[in-house]
Subunit: 420 residues, 2 copies
């Protein structure tokens, strides 16, 4: 067995726990020094590979790498950069292989969503065509929870826990104020295509903690009259109403509500998102006082309230990726397989990338109640284990202590520049 | 010594820890059953007193009352309702005394901000004028931290911890994405009149965790050109920039930026707040991709990341209020006195309400750096102990468990209705 180096990169929107996958990759690789020499990370994702801007993760201590498990976001930098098709832009892929060859990279670990799974597959294909020996393994990650095959995506459980907790807390606040002040509260959450995160907001309330809550899913076209009637019914009955709305909510014409021609007095487009828009519709039509929040990056960076289950998954897929690579499994992704809901049991299984790449897993219609405004028992059974467990980061002087790595550059070996 | 009942009410915007003050009041009263009979709470604050809608807190168990210490918002309901002057609306005050007399209330505990301190003082004055024996004690609370005399206000430390943590986490996210995507992130925080919460955002970064951060205080009129230059300088140097902006930011004409004529295509006013407005200005002028968040109620309800110091203060002022009342101290407020920064030591001292009512404590100019965009060492020394310590609520199935009290109504004794 030869000893070769590994390349790891983070891709797309980051999460509260993607660095736990990085720790899984790096720590597992360090345990197999006979097979894996250096672990290089791409600075700012795949761009780091294309521009030969590699980070030597070996320059960071075991302690710093362990701290990645409690540090949100992408410690090596991520990027939104999709490699084109093999035929459209063969030069890019060839450049990747050139860089890999220069640094004797035999393992390619790509940590991302469905676009990245596709890129990972293509990298595997081009390496074979070019006769360059490379094992490519995709490490799943996305808060959107829309990767195919895997039961859930690392990153989602923590967002889910954050939005459910935040909505529960805000609902208690609104309940206090409703008599003379705010009666309707709107929280906008992420998930442009699929309503997984919106569904998670629904976990804010349960039998033990009843709250008047309505959800607006991207899967259900916005029906203003029905929505207003539902809000009014909640306010009449409970004194207030909370609304969780997806950034991906669409009007009956199929347009994103948050982008449908909103412009302020200065001509700025897209000043507010769909959250403030929904709140304003409530105010205009029902005359109720409202508040709204848009958590934006706060929700996907909230490592301070990450889900322990999610963290375990995230570390496990990083670790499994390395073990799969060492076992010679190429063009695969370690997927999370749910074995039972109660007790929650799961395992990791390798899935061919061709079954994952570019596919989107939508929220099943039977996760949404018939009226379109809530989640079903099926959804609850699915979501419950994913938000379970706490794993608070270390705090110092009142604030979570997150690691900033040294990110020491690997000396370049190629004399050529590559324009992105 | 006669045994009389107590009345407790929550007033104004609620906080993550105001219920800890309620627990302090109720638990301390329960320890003095020889002097205090029932503790009645106003349903929805002072409105509950005016309408004789009282809650018998005795119907909730010791366990439920203890759970208030880890439950955000106002467990008995709060209200935004300011009693007018004694001469303008004497009927209201007389009605209060009628209700108190009917229920043999000898102690009045009012948990609120500077308006409430004023109301508490007036209640004390009218009871004397009417010859009704009543001891009125104000229990301080406000996320705005703008009460006079007291070193800090219960509720503020937890918001401060939340906004500093959230900005730190979001900054890590933006740092990851900046190469190809978001370069500027804007977080809008509360505090319409004083920049205390904005200052707390500044704690997100420190020597151990350097981050490019700019703050926009309500105290410093917005200077677009200087701001844009500062943002651009941060992006040029660090690759990205984070901005914490107060909802109370004003333009040079003194108008609130978040309300200065923003209107969307449908004619909805105030669609976005100042956070999205600032983000849009950055986008329009500097062409940087942006994201923005408005935490709104999330920040003041975030009991899951409350400050332990803040909780201790909150409980202590509730407890002290009862002990002061039992000692015969009337028309006072238990204030927090800082005895030293390092180690942080504090005590409670009674302050006459006349010294607190209707006053606002502004952020000192020497807490803000000369350039107007940051906080000084003085501010850090002040803020540091207030955000220190964690006191996580109990979690069950992944979510914080907050108590919803029974809130059993006290049978009415007066045959008269009172219109609010």
């Amino acid at each position: 067995m030869t000893r070769r180096n590994a390349f790891y990169a983070q891709s797309g929107g980051v999460t509260a726990v993607i660095n736990a996958s990085a720790a899984g990759v790096i720590e597992t690789a360090r345990k197999h020094k006979d097979r894996i020499g250096k672990v290089y990370a791409g600075r700012n994702g795949i761009i780091g590979a294309l521009t030969e801007d590699l980070i030597d993760t070996g320059k960071d201590s075991a302690r710093a790498i362990a701290a990645l498990k409690h540090t949100p976001a992408g410690a090596f930098g991520s990027c939104r950069y999709k490699l084109k098709g093999l035929d459209e832009n063969r030069a890019q892929f060839e450049r990747l292989i050139d860089v890999f060859r220069a640094h004797d990279i035999g393992y390619f670990f790509y940590n991302g969503g469905n676009d990245s799974a596709d890129t990972c597959l293509k990298v595997s294909q081009i390496s074979q065509r070019l006769g360059y020996p490379l094992i490519a393994v995709h490490v799943p990650k996305t808060v959107d929870n829309d990767l195919a095959v895997t039961d859930n995506c690392p990153g989602f459980g923590s967002v889910a826990k954050y939005v459910a907790t935040s909505m529960r807390e805000a609902a208690f606040d609104v309940a206090s104020m409703a008599k003379t002040s705010t009666k309707v509260f709107v929280l906008e959450v992420m998930g442009r295509h699929a309503g997984w995160i919106t569904a998670a907001v629904g976990m804010a309330e349960d039998r033990e903690t009843p709250l008047p809550l309505l959800l607006l899913f991207p899967e259900i076209p916005f029906d203003e009259a029905r929505f207003l009637a539902a809000v009014d019914a909640k306010v009449q009955r409970f004194g207030y109403c909370c609304v969780g709305v997806s950034e991906g909510l669409r009007n009956p014409a199929g347009e994103l509500m948050g982008e449908a021609g909103t412009r302020d007095a200065f001509g700025h487009a897209q000043l507010g998102g769909v959250g403030p828009l929904i709140a304003t519709i409530v105010k205009d039509k029902l005359k109720y006082k409202y508040h709204w929040a848009v958590a934006d990056y706060l929700q996907r960076a909230a490592r301070h309230i990450a889900s322990k289950t999610d963290l375990e998954h995230s570390y496990a897929v990083g670790k499994a990726a390395v073990l799969l690579a060492l076992a010679g499994e190429n063009a695969v992704m370690p997927a999370i397989v749910r074995m039972s809901d109660k007790p929650y049991r799961w395992k990791i299984a390798a899935v061919p990338l061709a079954k994952v790449a570019n596919l989107e897993k939508m929220l099943p219609r039977n996760f949404i109640t018939a009226d379109g405004f809530g989640i079903t028992a099926k959804a609850r059974a699915y979501l419950a284990p994913l938000i379970r467990g706490e794993d608070f980061p270390p705090f110092k002087d009142g604030l979570p202590q997150y690691v900033q790595l040294k990110n020491v550059a690997v000396p370049r070996k190629l004399g050529t520049e590559f324009k992105i």
